[in-house]
Structure formats: structure tokens, C-alpha cells
Amino acid sequence: MSAPLLEVKGLRVEFPTRRGTLVAVDDVSFSIAPGEVLGVVGESGAGKSLTGMAIIGLLEPPGRIAAGEIRLEGERIDTLPPERMRRIRGRRIGAVFQDPLTSLNPLYTVGRQLTETILTHLDVSHDEARRRTLRLLAEVGIPAAQARIDHYPHQFSGGMRQRVVIALALAAEPRLIVADEPTTALDVSIQAQIITLLKRLARDHGTAVMLITHDMGVIAETADRVAVMYAGRLAELGPVREVIHQPRHPYTVGLMGSIPKIANGTGSLGSRTLGVKRHAHLAQIDGAMPRLNAIPPGCAFNPRCPQRFARCTAERPEPLPAGNALASCWLYADERR
């Protein structure tokens, strides 16, 4: 295992409000190796986007990193002054956000936005920057890049725009890409194209990718490892196959069960009697994720957990080894060796 490219240790993100401090990300630790895709999943409000924002240094005030450290290639970046962080962002960390329309400036051609990014971060001539731009557009799969380079964002479709945003994130050949819901705004057929692209780029360039999404399907196809977040905390972290096929944390189990799947086998026409409903109920987790101002003591999932016992309501579980994964759940306390 090579040295981690990104290392996050004990990250805590707080929002001071008039009615007390909200802890949106609470003691989260993980690392990403070069060329690795780490998926981060969770429901809205689980803190996955804020973790990403903390890493790229774009937390919106009053949100702030209250504890923990973030290291990029061994260098601590969470304490850097904004001016230095601004130079790392774009150069060493690229970002892809959900809505490609808001990530692009509508008044500039995509070519100008790309060359500007390249010129800002790399020491190359204007001609070279334009050549690189053309190469990038071709690499992310934009047909007729020669003609498209001088088009404005509104002249591109949603999928093509997201490709431009990915090209923008890649422009300065960063070591890490933080992609926050990059496919959520896209139709399924376009989604598959974008995922294939991200995967290929990570492999070819050895770029580490932190892929934040609520879509387990996207994770299954792209990620090497996956971190499951719940109420600002890490519930489970492990190899993607293991987390999907053998989830350990009761929340992950419930989450996996509630994903609708196209059932194979029910499709045989012979077995189907007309007028009989065959729809299997989806497994469901009752209740909802707690609000940040009402996180229960102990394990944050305990009020909804079918396997809760006394310790869960009293003591917060540490990430514990469970198989090849880590699960923050007291069920695995005695597995510790």
C-alpha cells in the first residue's frame, strides 16, 4: 500500500448558531491512496458534502473546522491561509460539483475558462494552454473539440457541460479530485458515460478521487472503497464489494435493503398469475435521520436500530474492525483482537 495521498484525521466541522453549536461532521477519519476512488455515501444532511468542502477549503462561514487535520501528500492543508489554499485548489485538488451550469461562467466561452485555469496554475505559454485545452476537451469525450472550444456553456447539453466541468477540474493535472454528486443532475444514459469517464481518468492519471453521492449504484460501479456517513459520523468504511454484499453496520444493512433493485427471476412469465400482486416490500428503516440539534447520546443510529442494546444508548462506538471493513457499531466490540 502506497502512502496515502489524502489523509483526514478526526475531522470535526461546526456551525456556531445562536441556539448552540451544531456539529455537522464529527470525528471523521479516512485516507485515499493515489489512483484510488473513495466513495462517500449518505443521505441528505449526513455531512458528506461538508466533508468534501472542508477538504477543498470552501466551507461557508460560520461553518469551520473545529478539530482534526487534513493532509495532502503529507502536507497539512486545513491550517493554510486562504491565499495559499486558493493556489492548491485547482492546482493540486480539482472539484466537480452537482450542477454543471452553476460551475461555469455563462459569459465566457468554455475554451477561455479552461485556458485561464491552465495559465493560472501552470507555467505555460498561451498557445500551449490552448493546445492543452483542446486535448482536454477531446479527452473528456467532447466531439468536434476544435469547433466546441469557442462555444458558450449554454450551447452545451447537461451531459456535455458536466464533461467540460470535469475537464476544468483536470486542467492543472491535480492529484486529487473531489466530485460532489457529479451525476445526480443527469439522465441515466448520460450518467453511465460520465462514470466511465471518471473511472478511466482516475486510472490513467493516477488521480485520487473522492466521489460524494447518495447513489449506491454509482459507488458500486466506480469506487474501490466506500465510506458510509450517518448524522455527521462515519458509520462504516471498507472495500466496496464487502460493504455492498456484506454490510456490517445496521444502518448500512438498512440502506442497502431499501434500494430498489430490478428483481431477476420474477421475470419468468409462466410463474405470473394475472391479477396477483407480486411486489415484494422493500426493506425499510423506520424513522428519519436525527436533526443536528437532536443527535441522541451514544450511537447516533440507536433510536432506529433493530439491534440496539444498552451500551448503544450510553457510549459512542469507535470504528471497529468488522471483516475487512470498519464499522462504528458496538456489535463488533468483541471482534477486537
Binding site: 453511465a192 458500486a220 421475470g267 423506520d286 428519519a288
Partner: protein, 334 residues
């Protein structure tokens, strides 16, 4: 659940155009032509009592427009819609009387509930409009029963929508839709704004309510996996046209139309069987200038000369209908 064979809702060659011309002054000064967008083009289907028909397709395929045409939020440009055997647009038909038997659930539970009304008033509105309650007591009892039915508490009636999460708001929308005692619910992407675990709760609730109340659903979604959990039959739309309509079991086991196959291939593979998604080249064409012949031909691996020039009709095959020359000619396996 008994499905009887008389259709509750029938669409016959329904079409809807939207005028997307430039403003009148520009047309006069610049000679810009009138432009029509064919959002829905010759769509026909039946929904039997007690069944769930799902419409799927990508953004812009016209599925939501079909929903709005049925409940009367848009007038028809062409064709006819029958409810319980009566033409909704015929002069002799009491359309409002028929329409009170149908209700709609919308996608965005943040936009579809009035933020200034208490939940009990939101849920009671159809009861008041339709004059269903004999007294104020009766109304309150009905509202309380509805809230319990969708998994909320009676006291929740006193709160305002902002006090609820997305999933709970969608429960309120469902309670409101049910308060008029409808037989037919048009659900336009009812779970696509929700997290998966909440989506599972709402889908289960909808399935339970259907079994208990004998409801008929038109379920609109872009998500085939969601559809496979609720639908009896599935219609696949592309650029305003129906390209395949089949029993759910048939469609998911053996999709016929190349577009349906493409949609199935594009579903993320959670089983991680190692099969990679076949990314489809190309995107949905501009609906202002749909391709000639079969609208799907520019993206279709099986397209030939005939597909480029002649629009395929919906033809009956075992377990459904499909609009594809290649399937009809046996060029690809049906």
C-alpha cells in the same frame, strides 16, 4: 387485489403541442416563424382498475405532460381521454364530476404544499371543496384518520409544512390526495426528491394504500428500478412517443425496444457481477427538430434505411406492444 378488465382510464392518440415561438413583435419584425414543440405525440394506453401503470423515460420525453393532460392541467391538442368510459372533453360529460375521482401527487414536496397553511387545512381542502364532510367534527375526524393512514400523528395537523422532512411532506401530499376519496392517483415522480431509505418508506406506503383502498395508479418515474417494484405494466416513452408498453415482468425479463434495452443497461449494477454498463453514445435529440422516421434512430445500433425514413407503428407482440422496425422484421430478437 382484483384487476378487472374494463379500463378506468383510456388515452386514444393523445397529443399536446406547446407554442414556443418568439414573442409576437419579434415574429413581425424579424419574420421568425411560429414554432411548435410536440411534447406528446400520438400516445395511447389503457389503465385497468386496480393496476399500476408506470411511464418511464428520460427528461423531456413527455411523461409528465401526459400526467398533466390526464388530470386536466393542460388541455389536449389532439386525441381523446376517457375516464370510466366517458370522454372527458365531450360536451355532454360532467368533467369536473369525473375529475374529482382522480388526484395527483407531485414530485417536489417542498413546492407542492402551501407554507402558510397548517397541515390540517392542507389535507382538509379537497374535503371542503368537494363538500364531503357533514360537519366540522366530521371533517376533523376525516383529517385525523387520513394522517394516521399515511403514518403521521393526529397532532401533526396543527403544524406547518416547514416543520416536516421531505419524506413526511410527501406523506402529507398523499393524505391530501386521498382526502377526496379518489379512485385514480397520478403520481409524478413521487419519490425522486427523497433519499433512498425514505423512498422505500413512501413506496411501501403507496403499495399498502393501493391494496387497502383498491386504488389505480399512473406512476411516472425515470428510475426503472423503482418502477419494477410498483408497476404491473410499464410504458417507455422517448421524445413524446410511446416506444414500448408491456407487462412489467415481460419488460424487465426481456426488453424489446433498443431504447428500453439501453435504459436497462444504464442501471447501475449493484450486484457487481462485473458486467460493465454499456454507455450509450449520444443524447436525446432536440425535441424542436426530432429526427425523421424512428426518433431513436441516431442512437440506435440496429438502425437502417427504413428506420431513418419511416416512423414505426406500435405493433402487438407477446406480452405487450413495441414500436420498432428491427423487432417487427425480426432483425433483433423479440
Amino acid at each position: 387485489m382484483n384487476v378487472d378488465n374494463r379500463p378506468l382510464v383510456r388515452l386514444i392518440d393523445v397529443g399536446r403541442d406547446f407554442d414556443v415561438s418568439r414573442p409576437w413583435l419579434n415574429r413581425v419584425l424579424e419574420g421568425a416563424p411560429r414554432q411548435l414543440l410536440r411534447a406528446v405525440d400520438g400516445v395511447s394506453f389503457d389503465v385497468a382498475k386496480g393496476e399500476t401503470l408506470a411511464l418511464v423515460g428520460e427528461s423531456g420525453c413527455g411523461k409528465s405532460t401526459v400526467a398533466r393532460l390526464i388530470v386536466g392541467l393542460h388541455p389536449l391538442t389532439r386525441g381523446r381521454i376517457e375516464f370510466d368510459g366517458l370522454d372527458l372533453a365531450a360536451p355532454g360529460t360532467d368533467a369536473p364530476e369525473l375529475r374529482r375521482r382522480m388526484q395527483m401527487i407531485f414530485q417536489d414536496p417542498y413546492a407542492s404544499l402551501n407554507p402558510r397553511w397548517r397541515v390540517r387545512d392542507i389535507v382538509a381542502e379537497p374535503i371542503r371543496v368537494l363538500g364531503l364532510a357533514d360537519s366540522r367534527d366530521d371533517e376533523q375526524q376525516r383529517v385525523a384518520a387520513l394522517l394516521l393512514q399515511v403514518g403521521l400523528a393526529t397532532e401533526d395537523g396543527e403544524k406547518y409544512p416547514h416543520e416536516f422532512s421531505g419524506g413526511q411532506r410527501q406523506r402529507i401530499s398523499i393524505a391530501r390526495a386521498l382526502s377526496g376519496n379518489p379512485e385514480f392517483l397520478v403520481c409524478d415522480e413521487p419519490t425522486s426528491a427523497l433519499d433512498v431509505s425514505v423512498q422505500a418508506q413512501i413506496l411501501n406506503l403507496m403499495t399498502n394504500l393501493q391494496a387497502r383502498l383498491g386504488l389505480t395508479y399512473l406512476f411516472i418515474s425515470h428510475n426503472l428500478a423503482v418502477v419494477s417494484h410498483v408497476a404491473d405494466r410499464v410504458g417507455v416513452m422517448y421524445l413524446g412517443r410511446m416506444v414500448e408498453l408491456a407487462d412489467a415482468a415481460q419488460l424487465f425479463a426481456a426488453p424489446r425496444h433498443p431504447y428500453t434495452r439501453m435504459l436497462m443497461d444504464a442501471i447501475p449494477d449493484l450486484e457487481m457481477s462485473g458486467k460493465s454498463r454499456t454507455p450509450v453514445a449520444g443524447e436525446v435529440p432536440n425535441p424542436m427538430a426530432p429526427p425523421a422516421g424512428c426518433a431513436f434512430h441516431p442512437r440506435c445500433p440496429h438502425a437502417n434505411e427504413r428506420c431513418r425514413s419511416e416512423r414505426p407503428p406500435l405493433t402487438r407482440i407477446e406480452g405487450g406492444t413495441v414500436a420498432c422496425h428491427a423487432v417487427a422484421e425480426g432483425r433483433i430478437s423479440a
